[in-house]
């Protein structure tokens, strides 16, 4: 069927020859390869120092991540107005991760090697963090990650300023247990955080005499919840633990209400619904339901009053502040404190300053301390209740900042988990 006359074979030979020479010279370069990736260079030559802001400004995650970018910019503006860091102004370079994990990796590499930033702030989903983690480790550059996550990670080049599981999920379960709830139903989006969180919840429940009556996952972005809500209702569970993300919450809570379930009859504890999401889901569906975080717009204290006021002045009076936004804002100040203690922007010196301990900041959520060993921070857990005004008010807190324990080593029931 395929005749190959002279000219064609000539072309094939040419193509094959090109292929062969090039693979050959490729091999040569590998043979002579001796140097391995040295630490990232940071450009500190001018009167300013660059930092990267890596957030999804487009795609499904944009609605959440833009607010994080805004609070990062607020912190940078405040620091610049007060004289900058080590006498240098901070120049933010913003990049769009596009809700796409390889794009996150590409942009992280760009910020490090093209812009020569001193540190990068951002990422939201665990998948985006997992995608950039090797990039930061390879280049020996710093990432500050501001969102609560599923734990079980400790990269030497990432600082985690959101809660790990023992600062959010475990306190949430402790609260339910104290309320006398003995059975749970687990509902989550189908990705890493809910699946890992539910694994932890099941281990906790088993050790604490609670029953898990069901576990359901909906694809990210799914809006079809009648089946799941019917199963939840039929189970007769005492409470629901909700790890749904984004739009799915709107559909879930509408369905929940129309099925006749209420916060009084079967409360839902959510770990991904903050003030911003309450607004978009609708207060009428959420009023009375519970959330587990480390910060609310209503958290008392002078530092928070200042933060909320400054945020609203910059971005609009109707804009709420939330936990990830606060953790992002705090992360810039913590980086500043580390750099100033180190007296240098150099990554290894900054890390050493943090490892030596004593990096603290009076954050809007209260005083936070960096745990040099894990590069997570001590945070106070707060259970909140959604009010009719769309704000969340605290109903319980852990009393003092909880030591971060990303691998749950201090919890005997969690031994099989990591």
């Amino acid at each position: 069927m395929f005749r190959i006359p002279g000219r064609r074979s000539a072309a094939i030979v040419a193509a094959v020859a090109a292929f062969a020479t090039l693979t050959a010279c490729g091999a040569k370069t590998t043979d002579s390869a001796t140097t391995s990736g040295a630490g990232a260079t940071i450009d500190t030559s001018g009167s300013s120092v660059k930092v990267g802001l890596l957030n999804s400004l487009s795609g499904t995650m944009a609605i959440s991540e833009v607010t994080v970018r805004d609070s990062l910019k607020l912190a940078i503006d405040e620091i610049n107005a007060a004289g900058g860091v080590l006498g240098k102004q901070i120049a933010p370079v913003s990049e769009d991760g596009g809700s796409d994990w390889p794009t996150f990796a590409e942009k992280a590499q760009k910020l490090i090697s093209q812009d020569k930033v001193a540190a990068v702030f951002g990422c939201w989903t665990s998948a985006s963090r997992k995608a950039v983690k090797p990039v930061f480790e390879k280049n020996k550059s710093l990432l500050f990650y501001p969102v609560q996550y599923e734990g079980l990670e400790q990269s030497p080049y990432i600082f985690y300023t959101g809660a790990t599981t023992n600062q959010q999920i475990v306190p949430g379960l402790d609260y339910l247990k104290a309320q006398g709830k003995t059975s749970l139903y687990l509902v989550g989006s189908d990705y890493v955080f809910p699946r890992t969180a539910n694994k932890i919840i099941k281990a906790y429940a088993e050790a604490n005499g609670m029953k898990v009556l069901g576990e359901d996952y909906a694809p990210l972005g799914s809006t079809e919840f009648s089946t799941i809500v019917n199963k939840v209702k039929a189970s007769g569970a005492a409470a629901v633990f909700n790890t749904l993300n984004g739009d799915s919450n709107v559909a879930f809570f509408k369905e929940y209400k129309s099925a006749g379930l209420t916060a009084a009859s079967m409360p839902v504890v959510s770990v991904s619904i903050a003030e911003e999401e309450v607004k978009s889901i609708g207060t009428q569906y959420l009023a009375g339901q519970l959330t587990a975080w480390n910060y609310y717009q209503t958290t008392p204290g002078a530092a928070n009053e200042k933060f909320v006021k400054a945020y609203k002045a910059k971005y609009g009076a109707d804009k709420p502040t939330s936990d990830p936004m606060e953790a992002a804002y705090t992360s810039v100040y913590l980086w500043k404190a580390m750099v100033e203690k180190a007296g240098s922007f150099e990554v290894e010196k900054v890390k050493a300053a943090s490892a030596a301990g004593g990096i603290t900041y009076d954050a809007p959520e209260g005083k936070v301390t960096v745990d040099g060993a894990t590069q997570h921070i001590f945070k106070t857990a707060r259970i909140g209740k959604v009010g009719d005004d769309g704000l969340i008010t605290e109903v319980w807190n852990s009393g003092e900042p909880i030591k971060p324990d990303p691998f749950l080593k201090g919890y005997p029931w969690a031994t099989g988990l990591s």
Binding site: L57, P102, A131, P219
Partner: protein
């Protein structure tokens, strides 16, 4: 299906190859074209571009390899392959599984399995991927096998047009959901990340990353060569004939199902190869890259470049990917609007894609010469 400007020539053995003028160009011109492409990819790009940009180019070239396959199946064969993500993913996962196993070392579980899977032993379907030969073969043959089985079912039953496209998309969604659900053994939404080595070479080394670029560029040239051969052969003519008049070809005594099957399987193999090269070039493969949206994005690049030619799809894929990076770096908040415009403009004003621009210009100058 009227965008092809060249007339369809019946498979007549008396016609000399030199008189045939398809988008693929004549023999000598093609050799020159390949030469120029080789010089640009191997001579120019590595000198002009720094490590970071060259790494990005490697990623674009992977997408271009998928595009060449789509150009064959869709541009030439008329099959709107909206499901190439499946084959890209199979190739990518096959490669990533091998590299993860090598990183972990013999007898060890990959890092994510220890974290999420709580497994004591490797699942049976991971085991063969420890062998480099098996994994390498699987990156191309596994997608081809899947495409063969699917194609046999689809084309024999004469599923065409929108139904074929919908079926392809459904398959993408199904595979992505399956991979996400099996977090313990597939890495879930995170996919397989943090790949350290490539057949013994440390990927942290910039020189080795350059080598990966050369491998990708060579693969693209090889794939272009295969597509060029197929397009110029009698089979290529038959494929175009099936696209333009499937019933007529059937009445001539050919089986259109077989003709389409070959192009579909070859395109799947190319997508698998691209997925396999994507892993060392970018360092990650995840369900986000094999679902419905990326599968559509593959096709958009081809449409922008011009689907019926040989280089159009590849150039389109590279141009779209490059424009994405360039626009998003300059306008991080507003770039998606410009990207949208970039998709709409060629489709409205240049239905033959960017590749037809050259043809248009040539016609203009030819007319002027005649007038003068």
């Amino acid at each position: 299906m009227t965008t092809l400007q060249d007339p369809v020539i019946a498979p007549d053995p008396t016609i000399q190859p030199a008189t045939r003028r398809f988008g693929a160009g004549t023999g000598s011109r093609a050799v020159i074209g390949f030469g120029l492409a080789a010089v640009a990819l191997f001579g120019l790009a590595p000198v002009v571009l720094g490590d970071f940009r060259l790494g990005l180019l490697a990623k674009y070239l992977c997408l271009a390899i998928v595009a060449v396959g789509i150009g064959l199946a869709w541009g030439r064969g008329g099959m709107l392959t909206l499901g190439q993500g499946v084959f890209f993913g199979l190739g990518g996962y096959a490669m990533a599984m091998h590299l993860k196993l090598t990183d972990a070392g013999p007898g060890q579980l990959p890092d994510f399995m220890q974290l999420y899977g709580q497994l004591d032993t490797l699942p049976w379907w991971w085991k063969p991927f420890a062998s480099p030969a098996f994994a390498l073969a699987a990156t191309v043959l596994l997608p081809m096998l899947v495409a063969l089985l699917l194609g046999l079912l689809i084309f024999r039953r004469r599923v065409r047009g929108a139904y074929f496209a919908i079926l392809s998309q459904a398959l993408c969604a199904a595979l992505a959901i399956f991979l996400i659900g099996q977090q313990g053994t597939t890495g879930g939404t995170n996919g397989l990340t943090d790949i350290q080595g490539f057949f013994g070479y440390d990927l942290n080394d910039p020189l080795n990353r350059r080598t990966v670029y050369f491998v990708v560029a060579a693969a693209l040239l090889a794939v272009l060569g295969i597509a060029w051969q197929l397009m110029r052969s009698r089979y290529g003519e038959l494929l175009v004939a099936v696209r333009d008049g499937e019933e007529r070809v059937r009445f001539l005594g050919y089986d259109p199902a077989n003709v389409k099957l070959v192009a579909y399987v070859v395109a799947a193999g190319m997508a698998g190869l691209a997925g396999a090269l994507f892993v060392p070039a970018v360092g990650i493969i995840s369900p986000a890259m094999i679902g419905v949206v990326p599968s559509i994005e593959f096709v958009i690049g081809v449409a922008v470049g011009g689907r019926a030619g040989l280089v159009g799809p590849a150039l389109g894929a590279i141009a779209v990917a490059w424009a994405r990076t360039a626009l998003s770096e300059r306008l991080p908040s507003a770039w998606t609007y410009f990207e949208g415009l970039l998709f709409i403009l060629p489709v409205v004003f240049l239905p033959g894609g960017l590749a037809s621009l050259a043809v248009l210009l040539r016609r203009r100058t030819a007319k002027k010469e005649v007038a003068a």
